[in-house]
């Protein structure tokens, strides 16, 4: 097609410098396609197709066996009326509320501490705080379960020495969720911390000098210079952390399996159980779509927020 075009076309617009437009649109499209094809095949086949397929399944009574019947919005009605789903959503929200502010505030506070140029052992601290990020959730779950074991757990024993009775945390309906959320904070805050650290280093020092000249103390510099300049980074980290919280699964699967009394059963645990254990595939697909839409909405909030911020800056 490109050869044909270049022979039949009489007029060709002058090529701009850089040579990028030297050849025709057809030739460029063919080249681009060659570069894009492998990735497009993978994403089309394993992301987009399953996504459309999940949408179709969510309107059926699919169970992995036999013919699936179209049952309209039945699964979605179940999603929005089933008390188990309501509990799973409530648990996920509770987990998000426990996890997100804790992880983000810890990461920010530590980044602020480490940003001081006078601090000794900076690179040691930076490495130490980031190490949990390379440890899997599953292993983190084993280690913390052992540490808080009611009988032989070291942490339990030390806290008892300080007069704090924890009891059997993972069997405690009130404490199990904070425990699994804490493991996620431990594993992920180091990543947010590194992002905050980079954000802090991007703030021009001239701003601090100007604030100092105006007589601003450390607290005022933090409030009026650091935090406003970090708002983009903050928005990114917040949304990232919330999305991670919505998808919580690994450490819960290992530590509590959703218990005690379903108190740590999250939405993804529910999808896994209904889809792969009970084989209620139609229902699990509908629930997946609700999760998908919740995630998309959160990302949209991020885009709107970013867009507004960028407009403010320009």
């Amino acid at each position: 097609m490109s050869a044909e075009q270049s022979t039949t076309r009489r007029y060709r617009p002058p090529a701009p410098l850089g040579g990028r437009r030297r050849d025709g649109a057809g030739s460029r499209n063919a080249k681009a396609l060659a570069f894009l094809a492998p990735a497009l095949v993978v994403i089309g086949l394993f992301v987009i197709w399953p996504m459309l397929s999940a949408l179709r399944l969510s309107f059926t009574d699919a169970s992995g066996f036999g013919r699936e019947e179209w049952i309209g919005l039945e699964n979605y009605r179940t999603v929005f009326t089933d008390p188990d789903v309501f509990d799973a959503v409530a648990n996920t929200v509770w987990y998000t509320v426990l996890f997100t502010p804790t992880a983000v505030i810890a990461a920010l506070a530590l980044a602020l501490l480490l940003n001081s140029p006078h601090l000794p052992f900076r690179s040691f601290f930076r490495t130490a705080l980031f190490v949990p990020f390379v440890v899997s959730f599953a292993v983190a779950a084993f280690a913390w379960s052992y540490l808080i074991d009611p009988r032989v757990g070291l942490l339990n024993y030390w806290l008892r020495g300080l007069g704090v009775q924890m009891g059997d945390v993972l069997q405690d309906p009130d404490l199990a969720m904070p425990a699994v959320a804490f493991v996620a904070v431990w594993k992920l805050f180091g990543f947010y911390f590194v992002i905050f650290l980079a954000g802090l280093q991007d703030i021009p020092t001239s701003l601090y000098e100007a604030a100092r000249m105006d007589g601003a103390g450390p607290w005022s510099r933090l409030r009026h210079v650091t935090l406003p300049m970090l708002s983009n980074t903050m928005a990114f980290v917040l949304v990232f952390a919330m999305i991670a919280a919505l998808q919580a699964f690994d450490q819960i699967y290992v530590m509590t399996g959703g218990g005690p009394y379903g108190n740590t059963q999250t939405v993804v645990m529910e999808i896994y159980e209904s889809g792969f254990r009970k084989l209620d595939i139609g229902f699990a697909s509908a629930l997946s779509y609700v999760l998908l839409i919740a995630t998309l909405l959160l990302s949209l909030v991020q885009f709107v927020f970013f867009g507004r911020k960028e407009k403010d800056l320009s």
Partner: protein, 284 residues
């Protein structure tokens, strides 16, 4: 400046706030590193000590019993090999496919480029759990359950990597490829000999990130493998817990140690560069 002068200067800089910050960071680091210390130390503790009350952090006697036990309970060499094949395979494919696609999106002015970019960013936001069931059905229809293909192929390219590399490629100066093009270099040559060598930090960061995430993933191998010997080290360890398998803590910690060792050691080697690259190459 003499050494004495330098240290005097240092001391003068040690204001109370710096001392407090250092102490706070030491305390936080101790808590953060505690589980890792517990994994390492418990792995070498005799059973009697692991279950002793009061518990202690350091072992009195050191033993290899736990490591021996875990290698008897699980096909460990196989699981580690599977983890390397899975995480390494995904990383290798994703780096090649993502960088090719990212090059087209960053450097070739083709029809529908903007639309494609929007579609890729949109798929970035799809939680993989949402597509897991039809994906499983597809993989099962292809006859891939319990194969490396099932673990690797669906992740051989991903929207995040493409987007990340595109951003990086956009930032590379175009002067070099313009010169190469005038010399008659093909598009692929420009990609391979000019753009890729200049993108090594970004490729390294993305590669490590992809490797770590896949090595550590639990749900993915749990879903696509049903035979114990096709699982990864991460999913294999979970077979030992739960109602069916109550395994002594010492043995679990020995397994955990083996599971985290490759990543922690690799991380300590490249940590400086890795952290800096995450921070600066646009993972924010």
């Amino acid at each position: 400046m003499s050494v004495a002068e330098k240290s005097r200067r240092r001391l003068r800089e040690l204001r109370p706030s710096t001392v407090l910050a250092t102490l706070a960071l030491l305390a936080v680091s101790a808590i953060v590193l505690l589980p890792i210390a517990v994994i390492v130390l418990t792995a070498f503790k005799p059973v009697a000590e692991v279950n002793a009350y009061p518990p202690s952090l350091l072992p009195d006697a050191w033993t290899l019993d736990n490591l021996r036990q875990i290698t008897a309970d699980l096909p460990f060499a196989r699981l580690i090999a599977n983890s390397f094949a899975f995480a390494g395979g995904v990383t290798a494919f994703a780096l090649v496919f993502d960088s090719l696609a990212a090059y087209a999106l960053a450097r070739i002015d083709f029809t529908g480029r903007r639309v494609l970019l929007v579609v890729i960013i949109a798929t970035l936001m799809i939680p993989f759990q949402a597509t897991l069931i039809p994906l499983y059905q597809l993989v099962s229809d292809l006859g891939w359950v319990n194969t490396y293909a099932a673990l690797i192929a669906p992740r051989a390219a991903d929207a995040f990597g493409i987007f990340f590399l595109r951003q990086f490629f956009l930032g590379l100066p175009r002067d070099l490829d313009a010169a190469a093009r005038i010399d008659g270099a093909s598009e692929f040559r420009v990609f391979r000999s000019i753009v890729l060598p200049n993108a090594v930090p970004a490729l390294l960061t993305l590669g490590l990130f992809t490797f770590v995430n896949n090595w550590n993933d639990l749900l993915w191998p749990l879903v696509f493998t049903t035979k114990a010997e096709m699982g990864t080290i991460t999913s294999g360890l979970t077979l030992l817990t739960g109602p069916s398998g109550i395994v002594p803590h010492g043995v679990m910690m020995a397994g955990s140690l083996i599971a985290i060792l490759p990543l922690v050691v690799a991380f300590l080697f490249v940590q400086r560069r890795f952290i800096e690259n995450i921070a600066t190459t646009g993972l924010k």
